[in-house]
Symmetry: C2
Subunit: 221 residues, 2 copies
DNA sequence: GCTTTGTATTTTGTATACAGTCTACCAGTT
DNA sequence: AACTGGTAGACTGTATACAAAATACAAAGC
């Protein structure tokens, strides 16, 4: 284990990111540099730099001379994000499967077991968050496509607050665990096309679920 | 025409971006904050912020305490970038065509005529650069997918220096003009699938060309 | 009363100054 | 000669201070 030196900018970025993703900062809310700086006990410079990073990640909108706001995502934008994920993750899986070894599959299997255990314990938050991402990433580890991978990671992060919200309000996705198992099995058998198709459906099903919820919330206002 | 106030950070970002894209700063070369600040007659703060933006765009690598370098792109990475473009641009076109009106097609036609004229004049640099992007974007104007659009724009920018290099060394892509015409015609006729397929081939053909050149250059060293 | 103009206040943008980290080089040791 | 430890210089990271822009609000004109 290597110790890593983190700059204040990075620490601040993590802090603000978490605030946005867990809903402590609501969408549209302005982010005052001075206030954040004081709260986190740093100067405004690292706060500014962190905000710019978060803008690149899509979590924040930054307008010159007007400041930053937590970016709002509409139901239609969520749809686009998930459709992009479906497209890109299927592409990753397609290129990954031929390069996956037995031990790679074992790793994926481990992640899936952890995920199923968490789900059985009713711990949907963790299961749909980190564990879910880890399982997916394990499947893509053979793709050797760093750019695609990074875009997918960014998309995931971007919509993760909506996924979390969905879990809170609707208890999470019921069918996800079986779908995961199915995708892994197809991948193991080398059925690339079917595995990719199942993955796409898996992601698009989540989209429909979350979009329905968001549309309902928007209508209520 | 509205006058737009640009911050120094934005101006610096544009300046450095151009330096990288036109080859004045070579890949791998370190970008010293103090030197850039002095050259552009600003302090180091806007330089830092510009470099971070460029990192988000993928043009620069930024390592804590070590500084920024113009990012190197290998032949395999160029391949990935173009394949991503093929995938995402086809997706944009697919969603755009049903929404394109007569006047949208007219705009695309205008761009294409300009492009062909520039090409006939032997002005491949402009034709393969801005004009090419404008034509492509016109085709995607009905897609209504801002995120996808932005990713594509970023990918384009990222590899544009290699496209420019290719033009310098090999005179540009010979078949591109006819391919453009063909894509536009298919789109006008509403033949979505065929148009998307042609677009993919168009982009992948450029990939093969540039990749061949890059591999040759890498071998020579 | 409504619009316009001027001013105070808040907030962001940038310069300067200082602190922390990395790198390269050199002396001393084995 | 190879290795360790230490030191100086270069460069980046961050705090502070000041400048510029945006905003809110009050006063003047119609």
């Amino acid at each position: 284990m290597q110790i890593v030196h983190k700059t204040r900018t990075q620490l601040v970025a993590e802090a603000i990111r978490e605030k946005i993703l867990c809903g402590e900062i609501k969408a549209g809310e302005p982010l005052r540099q001075a206030a954040l700086a004081q709260e986190l006990n740093v100067s405004r410079i690292p706060v500014r730099e962190a905000l710019m990073q978060l803008e690149a990640e899509g979590l924040v909108n930054f307008e010159a001379h007007k400041g930053a706001t937590a970016s709002e995502i509409s139901a239609t934008q969520v749809a686009e994000t998930f459709e992009l994920r479906a497209l890109l993750e299927a592409e990753l899986l397609k290129h990954s499967i031929p390069n996956l070894t037995k031990s790679d599959f074992d790793v994926a299997e481990q992640h899936l077991l952890k995920l199923e255990k968490a789900m059985a314990k009713g711990d949907a938050m963790v299961a749909t968050g980190e564990l879910n991402t880890e399982f997916h990433n394990a499947l893509y580890s053979g793709a050797n496509r760093p750019q695609t991978f990074e875009i997918v990671a960014s998309l995931n992060q971007n919509c993760s607050r909506y996924v979390r919200m969905h879990i809170m309000l609707a208890g999470g996705l019921e069918t996800a665990p079986e779908e995961h198992r199915q995708i892994l099995d197809l991948a193991k058998k080398g059925k690339i096309k079917k595995a990719c198709e199942a993955l796409k459906q898996h992601i698009l099903a989540a989209k429909d679920d979350i979009q329905a919820l968001l549309t309902k919330l928007e209508d209520e206002q």
